[in-house]
Amino acid sequence: MSSNKIVLTSSDGESHEVEEVVARKLKIVGPMIENDCPDKAIILQNVTGKILALVIEYCKKHVDDDQVDASEEAKKKLKDWDEEFMKSPDLETFVKLMQASNYLNGLLGLTCQSVEDSIKDKSVEEIRESFGLENEEEEAIPRNTLELLKTQDLRCFLNPNNCFRFFL
């Protein structure tokens, strides 16, 4: 049972053979194994080969997560690895990775956490930059709406620093 190999195939035909326990870290895979014949390859429609490779790398690293006995050192090393893993992709890959993690239902905690880190305590400009919104003219809020936001009760929410730097 433990050395069962599963084949995961991406939308563009790339195949990866992994151990069942690694594949099961993606919650979408479990029911697929149970319902389809376990010998058939599992095709993941919404994930490209490049992204699938990254996801599998994460799953392999975290396959022993459920073991409680991990030492403090081991936990820290894993955390550092996670950080590096999240930092390395460019914005486009990162967005695709996030969509994949949502579809596959795995590593979602980590991806959401890293976006959270780019929002927490950052100014609006910094967030726009990390989200890739700088050049999106049509996405910008019209001036009058901004003025409205300024005067509305929302002012009590917004950090004055955020508001003023944005309007300048």
Binding site: N102, I127, E136, N159
Partner: protein, 428 residues
């Protein structure tokens, strides 16, 4: 050009649920897409800045609740101070309950403490799973109370005002049929003499130490009747403490209390694998019989200031013991309140305790002072413990010479030849 905005609304809301509400609302400035996303976040948290001259908490919370479009408000964390008005507070809780809140935290912090009256709408919140109250006053509990989903309850410095003694605590706890975790912090003004904790479903109990520097002991009591308990931690040395029933599922117990009936106490704790004891009480009579059921013990921590008399007996009756920790700390905030000042009186046991022969692997001695008795104990263990891998001695020293003298004192008196054990010294 790719951006985070390509992600689905669901995913973005999931992310916004992780950040503080203030930051989530600020994202409305990012772009058109983000203008109203924050309104779908089912979570409100607000921490007041106590030094703020004009407290914006009312506006913030009122506006959030007004503008929020989330179908359900799952979590509400409010940390409030002086300026919180009773009527507003009550309204906020009512709104949260009406919007199916599952995790509710009402933390008040004022000096001098003026507890905020607890809205009674709280007690009929059926979907509530986690409730945390601090500096809140419970006047009355409606008879329709039924917290059927409550699993975690935290009562920190809560005042229970009732006409009949102590009934409110009982009413509250018996209305939680699936309660698993309870955290209690008593204080001088809780108006409860006997804090009765009778919860059959309880798995984890933590009774925190009293706030402030109170050293006055009193006649108040904590009585525990929780047969399903797995973890117990008590750090309240000012009230009396009583266990009523045995707890066969108990795995870990950390006890720092005043206690009358040590025999009953140990009998109830018999299933524990991990035990930490600091029991200051007038009578310390401990017989073989009261300790004989403690055979599951693998980790033992003992306060040598008050409970050292028990060392011999406990070693004898814990055949599976792997780790022994002797705590002689006098300089910490949570140090033992015992006034007995009895040091370890050591009599070599007539036959070597089984745990020394077969299982003891680690010994830690914190606050070692180098007295004759302590040396005798240390040497006895070093000589007799066949499987001992490491003994760590932590001591206050002012220079390195004292360190070496401590180690040499012990090593030179070891009669047998080099043991496989490592003797380590850590400076306190």
């Amino acid at each position: 050009m790719s951006s985070i905005c390509e992600l689905s609304d669901d995913l973005l809301v999931k992310i916004l649920s992780l950040v503080k509400t203030k930051d989530a609302v600020a994202t409305s400035l990012l772009s058109k897409r983000w203008l109203s996303l924050w309104k779908l976040v089912p979570r409100l948290d607000y921490v007041t800045t106590p030094w703020h001259s004009s407290d914006p908490s009312s506006d913030f919370i009122n506006n959030f609740l007004l503008l929020s479009e989330a179908p359900v408000l799952e979590t509400m964390h409010l940390r409030l101070g002086y300026f919180c008005k009773r009527e507003e507070h009550e309204r906020w809780v009512e709104i949260a309950v009406a919007r199916h809140v599952r995790v509710l935290e009402l933390i008040h912090s004022t000096y001098p403490s003026t507890p905020m009256p607890c809205p009674s709408s709280l007690f009929t919140c059926r979907g509530l799973v986690v409730l945390s109250l601090q500096e809140v006053m419970i006047w009355e509990i409606p008879s329709t109370i039924f917290l059927q989903s409550l699993k975690t309850l935290s009562l920190l410095c809560v005042r229970f005002c009732s006409r009949r003694d102590d009934e409110l605590v009982h009413t509250l706890l018996s209305a939680c049929p699936v309660l698993e975790t309870l955290v209690v912090r008593r204080w001088l003004e809780d108006c409860v003499t006997t804090f009765n904790i009778a919860v059959p479903s309880l798995q984890s109990l933590y009774i925190m130490h009293r706030p402030g520097g109170h050293v006055q002991t009193d006649d108040r009591e904590c009585v525990i009747n929780a047969p399903s308990l797995k973890a117990l931690k008590v750090s309240d040395e000012l009230s009396w403490f009583r266990l009523l029933v045995e707890m066969p599922k108990l795995v870990k117990a950390e006890i720092k209390i005043r206690q009358d009936d040590s025999k009953k106490l140990l009998r109830c704790l018999a299933s524990a694998k991990h035990l930490s004891l600091c029991v200051t009480s007038a009578k310390q009579l401990l017989t073989e019989k009261s300790v004989e059921n403690l055979c599951q013990l693998e980790y033992l921590e003992l306060c040598t200031i008050c409970s050292s008399d028990w060392l011999c007996l406990l070693l004898k009756h814990s055949p599976k013991l792997r780790v022994l920790r002797l705590n002689n700390q006098t300089s910490q905030r949570n140090c033992c309140g015992s006034s007995r000042k009895i040091r370890v009186k050591w009599e070599e046991p007539c036959c070597v305790p089984e745990c020394l022969v077969t299982s003891l692997e680690t010994v830690e001695w914190i606050g070692y002072e180098g007295t004759e008795t302590e040396k005798e104990v240390a040497i006895y263990i070093l000589e007799k413990a066949n499987h001992l891998k490491k003994m760590t001695i932590s001591r206050h020293i002012t220079n390195l010479r004292e360190k070496y003298r401590t180690l040499i004192d012990l090593v030179s008196r070891l009669s047998c030849c080099a043991s496989k054990c490592r003797l380590e010294f850590v400076r306190l």
